[in-house]
C-alpha cells in the first residue's frame, strides 16, 4: 500500500496531474520532497491547507500519513 496525494484546484494544474502515489509513511518533510519545488513552495504558504484521511490538519507540519491514507493539498478556496 501507499499514500495517495491529491492536488486540488490550481495545484492540480501546477502539478500536471490529479494525484500521485508515494510510499508510506509520509510526514511533512517527505511530502515537500515528493511534490516538487513549485508545489512545495505553495505548501509553505499559510493559506494552503492539508487534509489527511478526510480531516483538515490544524498544523500541517505535523502530517503523519500511513498506508492507505489520502493526503489532500488544499489551496485557498473560491466558491459560491
Amino acid at each position: 500500500m501507499a499514500v495517495k496525494i491529491i492536488f486540488l484546484g490550481p495545484l492540480r494544474d501546477m502539478a500536471g496531474m490529479d494525484s500521485t502515489q508515494v510510499e508510506a509513511p509520509l510526514d511533512w518533510a517527505r511530502l515537500l520532497k515528493a511534490v516538487g519545488e513549485d508545489i512545495a513552495a505553495q505548501l509553505q504558504e499559510e493559506r494552503v491547507n492539508i487534509a489527511c484521511g478526510g480531516r483538515v490538519l490544524s498544523d500541517k507540519t505535523e502530517l503523519q500519513a500511513s498506508d492507505g491514507d489520502e493526503v489532500a493539498l488544499l489551496p485557498p478556496v473560491s466558491g459560491g
Binding site: I6, L8, G9, P10, R12, D13, A51, G54, V56, E70, A72, L74, P75, P76, V77, S78, G79, G80
Partner: protein, 156 residues
Amino acid sequence: MKDVRLLTEMFIPGALVGPFTQAHPGLGGVCTFVGEVRGGEGQDAKDDWGVEALELSHYEPLTLPTMETLADSAIERFDLMGLLMVHRVGKMRVGEPIVCVSAAARHRRGAIDAVDFCMDHLKAAAWFWKREKRADGWHWIEPRSDDYADLARWSE
C-alpha cells in the same frame, strides 16, 4: 428540516424552494439566495466579459461534511425552522444557478441573517475551487479579499 445537497447537474431553484417552503407550516418568513454564473451583459461588467463557462471543483471527503456542519450551525445560531443548501459542482454555463440557500424562520431577521451567514461561509470557507473559461482558455479565480472581510463579520 435540513436539506444539504451537492449536485452535478443543472437545477431549478424554484422547484426546490417551493416544496421547502411548504414543508414548514407556521413559518413567518423565508429568505432565499440564488447565485448564478455571471455573464458579461451588465454595464459595469468589464471584468466578466467573455466568460463562456465556469467549473467548480471540490474535494468530496471534505465538501459535504463542511456544508452539513455549516447548516447545523446556521440552524442553531439563527433559530431556523429549516434550511436548504444546494451547491453545484462541475462545469456550468452562464446563467445557470451555482448555489441556492433558503432559510425558513418564524421571524424575518433570522431568515435573512442565516442566508447571509451561509453565503459568506460557502464563499470563503467551503472547499470549492472555481475557474472560468474565456476565449484564451481556463483561468482559476483567486479568492477575493472582500470575501474574507464578509466572513469575519460573523466572528465575535
